[in-house]
């Protein structure tokens, strides 16, 4: 026999003003199974909680219904209170008569009636509640950071600082990411390499951090606290432990015509290369697509010059299998391809460059040694046109992205300012739609470009760039001046939109982490849980979650690290007991649940069942891993045979609620 206690809260006047609490508690007292019903001014107060506990002990209540605010607000409070009085916390139901009732109704009669119905539904549900016990799972005290840019480095450093071992998996031969290619950083104009490379060295020297470069994650299994990851470390044909990074091989290699990706293809490197002077790890890598020895078996110059004997043409990919407690995605961004923007003549003239290429042309370690020269003829440009929002804020086309790339306004102001500072004989035009500079000292920076450096900011867009007699004919609109401008430019710089790195989508699939339509990772909550993925144990750092500048990336990287540290510092994790459960006898093995499960919690096994006449039969049935299941209930809806059920929210319980409402 059920003994249910009902406690109706006034919430001061929040509920009591539009719901007659007295009538509600009286009406609910007459519901089947209810042995006690009362109302009180503040149920969540100490006195209110004491009253609930007292009644549980006094009457031996088997279920408690609290008619109050949203369960998001105080469900945990009331569950804790009941647990202290000896009642299983999952035998507590909350009827939300505030957010879903008193706050939205003006008429007290209507509000009261609805509150009674909501209370009745909760009573009907609690009758079917079963005591649930949260399980525990152990935590592997090691973190994996995927991506070794500034986001990944910062996250790894912060986790290591707390004493936990971290692996960084980086797909390029060196860590450092996009920031290594940047010349100066806004709004302070300090040199990017000067602030980044010490961090790269810190990461390399930290004994808690293990850098796995030239590698990619291939497979992720497991769940929060217990991930099992397969990493493929690609063969670089150089023994990392022997190579001293002297660079002799990179000077002697006869294959000189390999586009240098570090300089955005603006110059060439050798087939064996170290991406840049401060690379970490500073070891050479052979590019198998260009190496004559690997392609034809005839060369071997690098192995002859290498005094350390580090060259190994027969090196194979290495598979690393490792367990982790937490995974951080820090896969970063790429500028979009300019191929579809013919109007800017990017593919027609080498003097039309993207902003990242411009960074390299301004950088002392770049192809021009830091002197700004036109790629076409190596001459000094006098008129430069910067075009903003190329591919950003585009609607409904496969050409561009619907979002604002966020960083372009500031780096364009930086480029324009630096150009004017170094070369006062230049005319610099910036075509903008809006100048977006929210950030500390950002707008001041942009205004300085205009006021002190005389950069011409023009509200309008460039419509056409045509190469003609060594010049770039730029046709643009000056909307505020009400005219169409024709500029003979020497260089055009396109602020290309940024998009998530291409490796992010397959990684998200492996992690079962959700993504938005633009392939940015989705946060667990856009405001309150910005560095966590909805998948437990997966965290987000940097531009893989959305466009970000360096300070924001570093802040988010630290936040992600804090979340990882919080997770790894626990020995056991309490699991949510409200998880899906499959009734093996009803399961028909159709895989519908497995397909809809966003967390990869469902697997199928072949299981023996006893058949008639002492026979056994093997059937394929679904199994839920309770540590991975987040209790979303998608599988219970997808299951055609009704085998899948959610503990605490079973189909029977939901139907009982509906019946109670419709009564």
């Amino acid at each position: 026999m059920q003994k249910i206690g009902v406690f109706v809260c006034w919430c001061g006047s929040n509920i009591a003003a539009t719901v007659d609490v007295e009538t509600v508690s009286d009406a609910l007292a007459r519901e089947p199974g209810v042995v006690f019903s009362t109302n009180y001014q503040y149920m969540c107060s100490q006195a209110g909680q004491d009253m609930i506990q007292e009644k549980i002990r006094e009457l031996g209540l088997t279920g408690v219904v609290i008619c109050s605010c949203s369960p998001r607000m105080h469900e945990a409070t009331f569950r804790r209170a009941c647990e202290k009085a000896g009642l299983n916390p999952y035998l507590v139901e909350i009827a939300n008569i505030r957010e879903q009732c008193s706050w939205i109704h003006k008429d007290k009669a209507v509000g009261t009636e609805k509150a009674i119905i909501l209370g009745r539904a909760a009573i009907a549900k609690v009758q079917l509640n079963a005591p649930l016990t949260a399980g525990e799972s152990p935590v592997t005290k090691r973190a994996l950071v995927i991506g070794g840019g500034i986001a990944g480095i910062q996250t790894a450093l912060d986790i290591a600082e707390a004493g936990f071992p971290v692996d960084i998996v980086e797909k390029k031969p060196t860590i450092g990411g996009k920031m290594t290619q940047i010349d100066k950083t806004f709004p302070t104009l300090d040199c990017a390499a000067c602030i980044l490379t010490p961090k790269m060295v810190d990461a390399a020297q930290n004994e808690k951090i293990n850098i796995i470069s030239y590698a990619q994650v291939e497979e992720v299994a497991g769940f929060v606290g217990n991930f099992s990851v397969k990493i493929r470390k690609r063969a670089r044909f150089v023994d990392e432990t022997k190579c001293t990074g002297c660079g002799l091989c990179t000077e002697k290699c006869p294959q000189k015509n390999v586009p240098n990706e570090f300089n955005q293809g603006l110059d060439n490197r050798r087939a064996i290369y170290i991406p840049f002077a401060q690379a970490v790890p500073k070891v050479a890598t052979i590019d198998p697509n260009y190496c004559t020895m690997l392609k034809t078996g005839k060369c071997g110059v690098c192995s002859k010059v290498c005094t350390a004997g580090a060259i190994d043409y027969r090196q194979q990919d290495e598979i690393i299998q490792q367990e982790y407690g937490a995974i951080v995605a820090a896969t970063g961004f790429e500028p979009i391809s300019m191929e579809k923007f013919d109007e800017f003549a990017y593919s027609q003239s080498p003097d039309v460059v993207t902003s990242l290429e411009f960074e390299r042309l301004m950088n002392a370690a770049g192809p021009t040694g830091g002197t700004l020269l036109r790629p076409s003829d190596g001459k000094h440009p006098h008129t430069l046109v910067f075009v903003q929002c190329v591919g950003s804020r585009c609607d409904g086309g496969e050409k561009g992205k619907p979002y604002c790339s966020k960083i372009c306004c500031m780096y364009t102001a930086k480029h324009a300012m630096l150009t004017r500072e170094k070369y006062p004989d230049t005319e610099v035009y910036v075509f903008y739609i809006d100048v977006r500079t929210p950030g500390k000292n950002f707008d001041e920076f942009y205004r300085r470009a205009v006021e002190e450096y005389g950069v011409h900011y023009v509200k309008g867009m460039v419509g056409k760039v045509a190469p003609e007699n060594g010049k770039l004919k730029v046709q643009a609109s000056d909307l505020l001046g009400g005219r169409q401008l024709h500029i003979d430019a020497d260089m055009v710089v396109l602020a290309a939109a940024i998009e998530p790195d291409r490796s992010a989508r397959p990684l998200a699939t492996m992690l079962t982490a959700s993504m938005d339509t633009n392939d940015f990772f989705t946060e667990a909550h856009p405001k309150l849980r910005p560095v966590e993925s909805p998948t437990a144990g997966v965290f987000l750092s940097g531009a893989c979650q959305g466009p970000k500048d360096i300070p924001e990336t570093v802040a988010q990287a630290g936040a992600a690290a804090a979340k990882v540290i919080g997770l790894l510092s626990r020995d056991h994790l309490t699991c949510n007991p409200c998880v899906a459960e499959s009734n093996e006898l009803m399961c028909n093995g159709c895989s519908a649940c497995e397909k809809v499960c966003p967390y990869g919690a469902i697997t199928y096994i072949d299981k023996e069942f006893r058949g008639p006449n002492r026979t056994t039969l093997v059937r394929r049935v679904a199994q839920v891993n309770p540590a991975v299941c987040q209790g979303c209930g998608a599988c219970t809806v997808a299951c055609p045979s009704g085998a899948m059920d959610l503990k605490g929210f079973s189909n029977a319980q939901i139907m009982a609620e509906v019946d109670a409402i419709c009564k």
Partner: protein, 126 residues
């Protein structure tokens, strides 16, 4: 005039509200110098209901229908369609004295491209 705005947006199938006022249409327009109003202004005038001005403007007939604005527009506003719709709206006015075919030849500019002339004749045939 509100009806007219609706008519223009309906026959064009374009949505002027999507415009973010970047001016790329005007930047791309080869007939800029011939126009009293320019593509980005067309969009704004449709959106703010200033259709009478637009319908009386000579600029709408200077549009070459080259579709550069439509092609370049990052927001898919498609100004060329709006202009075409405005021209249609002029034609569709009942009992209003729009151009008669015999009035057209003296208006013709020898520098106008063939395509625009053909297109103009098609529009005035009724």
């Amino acid at each position: 005039m509100k009806d007219m705005t609706e008519l223009v947006t309906r026959i064009s199938g374009a949505n002027p509200r999507k415009c973010m006022k970047c001016g790329k249409c005007t930047a791309a327009c080869p007939a800029y110098d011939e126009m009293d109003y320019h593509p980005h202004q067309f969009v704004d005038m449709v959106e703010t209901g200033r259709l009478e001005e637009l319908m009386n403007s000579r600029g709408i007939y200077m549009c070459l229908s080259c579709f550069a604005c439509l092609e370049r527009c990052p927001r898919s506003v498609e100004p060329a369609r709006l202009i075409e719709a405005v021209r249609l709206a002029v034609i569709r006015q009942q009992d209003k004295n729009h151009l008669k075919p015999e009035q057209i030849p003296p208006l013709l500019d020898p520098d106008l491209p063939q395509q625009a002339i053909t297109s103009a004749f098609r529009k005035y045939r009724k």
